[in-house]
């Protein structure tokens, strides 16, 4: 599967970028070029140089080191929100599609209401209760992504449950759990993967946004979001400095969103196996490259 994944340009891009991100996050635990938090009043706004690869900021801190330290926050946010979104998404999808009729239709209404609940509001509420921290970002983004995933996945499960092949499987005697694990779950998995990768991408963006607004990491945690918030104030004078965290965020978000599509394409037999008859070619949907 990995070979099929990297055979596509989008898959290769996603794997390389995200692989690099994880490696850099691991490296940053033991080594950064400089101390990312050490202010140096004699070298404010230094240009890129061998000592400061990406230059320094208003306090003379090394941008490259700070960026590197921020990878940990990005990985933590993406993975943490992804895990929470998966758990919340799977539970709500199951309750919303496999239970008694009134329970699942009640869940559908609940999901529609919850989807309208802004992530920012959740973050503000959590901050009011628990105080500002990275955990607030992870939990609030995870919850709202989980609700979005459940809303889409519920519809998909209901559609598959009514499909001819599920009816045919039931007609041949396959019972509830057989239908669930051999037909419903595998056929809903591609959509789930795509939604999850989008949720992780959204989480990275939302961390930047929430940190910008002061709901995310404190000043003792290096984060690309708070970095961007600091540096963009000076963008008219020192345009280069804000570009680094901006580009890093954009790159990771793009890689995460493409990863889902690439995984889906790499696991769909209609796209990866030959067609003996030459007919019945699967239509190339949006997001299908190569």
């Amino acid at each position: 599967m990995i070979r099929r994944l990297v055979a596509r340009p989008t898959g290769l891009f996603a794997v390389v970028v995200l692989g690099l991100l994880v490696v850099l996050a691991a490296v940053s635990l033991v080594w950064t070029p400089q101390d990312p938090f050490r202010a140096d009043p004699f070298h404010q706004w230094a240009s890129p140089s061998p000592a400061h690869w990406f230059g320094t900021d208003a306090a003379g801190r090394d941008i490259a080191s700070y960026l590197l330290a921020g990878t940990r926050t990005t990985v933590l946010v993406a993975v943490g929100s992804g895990v929470i979104a998966s758990v919340v998404g799977i539970v709500l999808t199951a309750v919303g599609s496999l239970t008694a009729r009134w329970v699942r239709e009640g869940t559908a209404v609940l999901l529609d209401v919850l989807v309208a609940f802004p992530t920012l509001l959740t973050a503000m509420l959590l901050t009011a209760v628990a105080g500002g921290s990275l955990g607030v970002v992870v939990v609030s983004v995870g919850l709202s992504s989980g609700v979005t995933i459940a809303r889409v996945a519920r519809g998909e499960i209901r559609r598959i449950a009514r499909s001819d092949y599920v009816t045919a499987a039931r007609a041949s005697g396959v019972g509830g759990s057989g239908v669930l694990f051999r037909h419903l779950v595998p056929n809903a998995a591609p959509l789930f993967t795509v939604q999850l990768s989008l949720a992780m991408a959204t989480a990275v963006l939302a961390e930047a946004g929430l940190s910008y607004l002061g709901y995310g990491a404190g000043s003792d945690t290096a984060s690309w979001g708070s970095m961007l918030a600091d540096l963009q104030t000076y963008i008219g004078v020192h345009p280069w400095s804000a570009t680094w965290p901006g580009a890093a965020i954009a790159l990771v978000v793009a890689a995460l969103s493409l990863l889902g599509d690439a995984v889906r394409d790499a696991t769909d037999p209609r796209l990866t196996t030959g067609d003996r008859t030459g007919r019945n070619r699967a239509p190339a949907g949006p997001g299908v490259t190569a």
Binding site: Y165, A168, A169, G173, V174, R276, T277
Partner: protein, 261 residues
Amino acid sequence: MTDATGGLEVRGLTVRSPGRTILDDVSFTVPPGRRLGVIGASGSGKSMTSLALMGLEPTGATVSGSIRLDGTELVGLPDRERARHRGSGIAMVFQEPATALDPLRRVGAQIAEPLRLHRGLDRRAARAAAVELADAVGLPDPGSLLRQYPHQLSGGQRQRICIAMAIAGEPSYLVADEPTTALDVTTEARILDLFAGLRAGMVFVTHDLAVLARIADTAVVLDAGRIVEEGPVASLLASPQHAATAALVDAARATARRTAP
């Protein structure tokens, strides 16, 4: 609950969805090994008859009346018990073989599933039995064909897979809902030969009178959810009594005239 008569006995089968009666007091009997045709225009209740026989009517529909399979009453059974009869007592072949197979599973696995369920075979034995079954339904080179995914097969091959799936549990009855409508004429003829060679009794739903004449001895005509006429296929076609039957026969004659050389 059992009585001496075997076979499939349907008495007063009625299906209602909220505000509408889809099937109204449908009764017929199919002795073991015999084939009954069910004909009618679109919307006459043919497909609902098949689904109700399987106990797979859509949610919200209520079924009343009686369906007895070899003396056992099926209507009103809890779904868990009803499921035990599906595939082994009575199985079904669907109209559209392109959508009746799971696109993500190899066709061999889809045949093996009912084999493991009904014959209690382990994985290896089920695989061997699937090859035998594929061979029995006339699939070429079953060993490699069963490793394919549904989209890699032709329409006729896919319908043969569906038939293999349906007969895997050695059902005494088979419900076939327009199983050749989605196929080309040559393939249709071969698939009909395959059906005609099966041992199972059959409820064969079709709107095509040529198919009916080929597969069934007796038939019932459905119109707006009711049986309006029944009898031997030959006499139904030669001297239709009800307007709905006559309309089907006329339409078939008109098509035959248009397509005649």
